[in-house]
């Protein structure tokens, strides 16, 4: 790839008009840095058409492009080897369509999540995507990052409510997939491939969702358990009961610290001690339903040796707890020095065995471990890769800690494999990111081949970062590959690139 030159900037400005949306000032470029690597320039298109124009330009000039949103989750992108242009999509924040009576909405990828939910709230609706960095994140970045929300227990993940999308492929063509209606099997579900694609496939410009009615009165239940077995056993009983809570999470003491502290209002979040495992559930409904939830959750908890139990019926306290649970990833990154955050996808009944292994792993390696085991989803595991809790998250990992870091990754992978699951890196210090990606990719060899074919179909010119992490492969000479040509899984030109983990970098479009 060639670098962005001043003349390239000038040419692009002449293509896109005089409002100079393409800026190469050093100070601004750093805003888009990923692991300390800044783009040569950034562009902030005012429309999807302009974004497509920029992609076509980049394809012609052989520039590498990383689409970004509000830049809240750039840490989980792979460290870029080449990073010519950051394509800032925050200006694409329009509402193209909102039909409250149909409960469907279509918005630009740059639409902030919080702003969208404010709009929906006026119609007593919402979108159940309460994800980390909620107050800043854009909808496009959220989808690209593929992070989950505690509310998935009741509403599922974006793949369950994303109805369609518009995106720009690596040739700069504007592509439409799916639709705006709640049920649709017209053509391939290409939009699902965008979820968790982290900007490696395409530039998302528009997303269509179904919306949901805001639940009526919501309350919370928090119970302390002597150990993980009893907490997960209570969770298991709830899963297999008629109860259908909105959220259902089990947290170890370290993770439950995210609830520490009080709300701004008068109502306090229950005080937690440092020795228990906790089960936290939110539920909603009319008076009869709420009464039943409280009664039966308490009964189940008691059967499983729960100690303290709290009903959180103060809406401010509950909102504060829900918000902190939502922000668990930022919390871990902030509170663990050199934090590693890993998502461990396992079938729910295997969470107990996993907790056994995790606990002994933490004890043996003397690692602080925060664990959140989501009933309808993965286990989120966070730890610190620094023996001394002194420096910031940016602090380098000392060479002495590297073997422990690798050991931790290996153990997590072994754990995932032994229960037919998967491990995925969310966040790690730059020095060990590539190593983690390489380790976790071991479990995904066959899907990697398929993923590469998808990547070639979306991005034949290799404009966007690869799933492979650090090395952005150089463009093969044949940049005008026939779109009809079968896409070979392993282009020979990739020889010599580092081991290529398929684990998608959780986000670049954030």
């Amino acid at each position: 790839m060639s670098a962005v030159t001043d003349s390239a900037v000038a040419r692009l400005e002449s293509v896109l008009g005089s409002h100079a949306i393409f800026v190469a000032k050093a100070a601004n470029r750093e805003l888009y840095a990923i692991d300390g690597v800044s783009p040569t320039a950034f562009a902030k298109p005012a429309s999807a058409e302009q974004a497509a124009e920029i992609i076509r330009f980049a394809a012609k000039e052989k520039l590498s492009v990383i689409p970004v949103g509000a830049r809240t989750k750039l840490f989980c992108a792979p460290t870029p080897a080449r990073y010519d242009v950051a394509l800032d999509l925050t200006a694409l924040d329009d509402v193209a369509h909102y039909d409250p009576a149909d409960l469907t909405v279509s918005v630009g990828a740059g639409m902030p999540l919080a702003k969208l939910n404010t709009m929906l709230r006026e119609q007593n609706q919402f979108r159940p995507l309460l994800v980390p960095y909620y107050s800043h994140a854009t909808i496009g970045g959220t989808i690209a990052a593929g992070l989950d929300s505690p509310l998935r227990n009741a509403y599922g993940t974006p793949r369950d409510f994303l109805l369609g999308a518009e995106f720009i492929d690596g040739n700069g063509a504007q592509i439409k997939t799916g639709g705006r209606v709640v049920k649709n099997v017209t053509g391939y579900d290409l939009h699902k491939l965008l979820i968790g694609s982290c900007g490696t496939l395409a530039v998302i410009t528009r997303l269509n969702f179904r919306t949901f009615p805001t639940p009526s009165t919501t309350q919370g239940f928090l119970a302390a358990f002597p150990d993980y077995k009893s907490a997960l056993s209570a969770r298991h009983k709830i899963i297999h009961s008629p109860l259908a809570p909105l959220t259902l999470d089990v947290l170890n003491a370290q993770a439950a610290r995210l609830f520490d502290g009080h709300t701004n209002g008068t109502a306090a979040i229950p005080e937690l001690d440092g020795n228990h495992w906790y089960l936290f559930a939110e539920f909603s409904g009319n008076e009869d339903l709420l009464a039943r939830y409280k009664r039966e959750l308490a009964e189940i908890a008691e059967q499983c040796q729960a100690g303290d139990m709290h009903i959180i019926d103060d809406s401010a306290a509950l909102a504060a707890m829900a918000a902190r649970l939502r922000e668990s990833i930022p919390h871990f990154r902030e509170h663990f020095a050199a934090a590693i955050v890993v998502k461990l996808a396992l079938p729910p009944a295997q969470h107990t065995q996993a907790a056994t292994v995790l606990q002994s792993l933490g004890d043996a390696a003397k690692l602080p471990l925060a664990i959140i085991a989501r009933a309808s989803g993965p286990i989120l595991v966070a730890t610190s890769m620094q023996s001394e809790h002194s420096a910031s998250e940016q602090a380098p990992v000392s060479p002495a800690d590297l073997p422990i870091a690798s050991l931790f990754a290996r153990e997590i992978l072994t754990l995932a494999r032994s229960f037919g699951g998967r491990a995925q890196l969310i966040s790690a210090p730059t020095q060990i990111k590539a190593r983690y990606r390489a380790i976790f990719s071991e479990s995904l060899a066959s899907e990697r081949t398929l993923a590469k074919r998808i990547k070639s179909a979306f991005d034949p010119n290799n404009l966007f970062p690869t799933l492979d992490g650090p090395a952005v492969p150089s463009i093969p000479a044949k940049s005008e590959t026939s779109p009809r040509a079968p896409q070979e899984p392993e282009p020979a030109s990739k020889k010599g690139s580092p081991p290529s983990p398929p684990t998608p970098p959780p986000s670049t479009q954030s």
Binding site: A101, G187, L190, K192, G420, R453
Partner: protein, 491 residues
């Protein structure tokens, strides 16, 4: 058909697993749609290894290959449009594993949808997608078509219930995607393969989620004097954020035909009815059905009946699920459409369908999933009358065009197949088709698997690449020949 290929297939699968005589093949030239296309031979694999070997032979002889479940599909997806080998999965019908703790099951593609639910009912579970053909249709077919059904309003369609797949690509590769855990990292290949209408891979094993049976179910029949009151009720229920498990609408004319056949207790003089089901925790069901009752009455429902027991409930559903069969008694040809519209546009769309019926001289019935805006207008015609058939097709295209005009889509659950491929340009541009074709070609580069589907003619792949292999040309091209009556099991 190449006689050496037939010999190879027979030696691979045994002669009882290969059909090739014209009278045998006739049974496989239809599905539930109005399309017709005859394969050159039909094979019945029993194992994944069989499927791999069949793919290999098809490649060796450069013959098209098409997968098929029970043949209940409604868009010609499982027809051998370009002839070749039709691989029927009905003998790969074993439930391989049931994991009650994790609420999931692993099945072979030929397992019948309702059989899986029956197998796990004792554990209080079921497989939620419930196409009306569920007593016959296979889970492999459901996965290929991303099938829906009445209760997908609350539970989601097939794609929301699939965790992993084993499949054979037309290149001969055996692949496994997803895992028994949710959230497999990497691209959502499952999302792409489910609903790809058999154009990307032959599915050989499926792990699905099982769903807890609800604690309480209430089935209501709301009877209205006019279509408008009925559709306005659906708009109101949706807008007020109530999600019943099912919200089906049947118009008065169709109801009378059904009642004559099923005797489900439907009124003989109504404008239309809503068949509504509320499921979940008892307290929620009680509260929701009270609100639904109130909304129905506010829209001048003449009567809101509640099914008193399972027997009454089953009878109402029997009426609904056999409605297309009932219509088959009064017409030799039935064309079932599958348009989708925003729920807010229901009243005007139903009025428009009536106008189109009048304009083209048809009685167009409506039995459909009103709660998710998934229309099934039914055009009845005489199969012996080609002019009438062509007119029926024109009326149908007009309806679909209107669906797209109001922000809807071509198909909600039946698929594009060969039936609606020519309508695809109503929604997609040439750039979209180029892109879709690149994705298609990434897995099915020679278009040897299920050719002539999904893409409009000329926009798809491989139409000129395949050797014309068959001795007898398959009869069908779209809308060229009248078709026999559709089977009774339609969603």
């Amino acid at each position: 058909m190449d006689s050496q290929l037939l010999r190879d297939l027979k030696s691979l699968l045994g002669s009882e697993a290969v059909l090739h005589r014209p009278e045998e093949l006739m049974l496989y030239e239809y599905d539930g749609s109005v399309e017709v296309a005859r394969p050159n031979c039909v094979v019945f694999p029993r194992t994944t290894a069989d499927v791999l070997a069949i793919v290999k032979l098809a490649n060796q002889y450069q013959t098209p290959l098409v997968g098929r479940g029970a043949g209940t599909g409604l868009s010609g997806g499982a027809l051998a449009r370009k002839g070749g080998i039709l691989a029927v999965f009905s003998r790969m019908n074993r439930i391989l594993e049931i994991d009650i703790e994790n609420q999931r099951a692993t099945v072979q593609p030929g397992v019948v949808n309702a059989d899986l639910s029956a197998a796990v009912a004792n554990a209080g579970l079921h497989f939620a997608p419930d196409p009306s053909s569920q007593k016959a249709c296979t889970i492999g077919g459901n996965v290929s078509e991303n099938s829906g059904g009445p209760h997908t309003l609350a539970y989601g369609v097939t794609t929301n219930h699939v965790l992993s797949l084993e499949a054979v690509l037309p290149t001969g590769e055996l692949i496994r995607i997803g895992s028994s855990a949710l959230d497999s990292p990497g691209y959502d290949l499952l999302g792409l393969f489910v609903g790809s209408e058999g154009t990307l891979a032959l599915i050989t094993e499926i792990t699905v989620k099982l769903t807890r049976l609800p604690e309480a179910v209430k089935t209501l029949l709301a009877i209205f004097d006019t279509l408008d009151d009925t559709t306005e009720t659906v708009v109101d229920i949706t807008a007020r954020g109530i999600t019943p498990a099912a919200c089906e609408m049947l118009d008065g004319w169709t109801l009378r035909v059904i009642e004559d056949y099923i005797h489900a207790g439907f009124p003989m003089d109504s404008g239309a009815v809503l068949l509504l089901e509320v499921e979940g925790m008892l307290e929620a069901v009680t509260a929701q059905s009270a609100v639904i009752d109130e909304i129905c009455r506010a829209h001048k429902a003449r009567e809101v009946r509640v099914a008193r027991d399972d027997k009454e409930r089953d009878l109402l559903w029997k009426g609904r699920k056999n409605s297309f069969g009932a219509l088959g008694r009064i017409a030799s040809g039935i064309y079932v459409l599958d348009g989708v519209i925003p729920r807010s546009k229901l009243p005007q769309t139903l009025r428009r369908i009536q106008e189109i019926g009048t304009q083209f001289g048809f009685n167009i019935g409506n039995v459909f999933h009103a709660g998710d805006g998934n229309l099934h207008p039914i055009v009845l015609y005489d199969i012996r009358d080609n002019e009438q058939f062509q007119r029926a097709m024109k009326a149908s295209a007009e309806i679909i065009r209107y669906c797209v005009e109001v922000g809807g889509s071509l198909t909600g659950e039946h698929g594009i197949g060969m039936e609606k491929s020519e309508l695809m340009p109503l929604l997609f541009s040439d750039a979209d088709f180029d892109f879709m074709r690149r994705v298609h070609d990434a897995f099915n580069p020679k278009c040897s698997l299920n050719p002539g589907k999904v893409f409009p003619l000329g926009k798809g792949c491989g139409e000129t690449r395949l050797k014309p292999h068959h001795v007898q040309t398959p009869k069908s091209e779209p809308a060229s020949a009248p078709a026999p009556p559709a089977p009774v099991n339609a969603t």
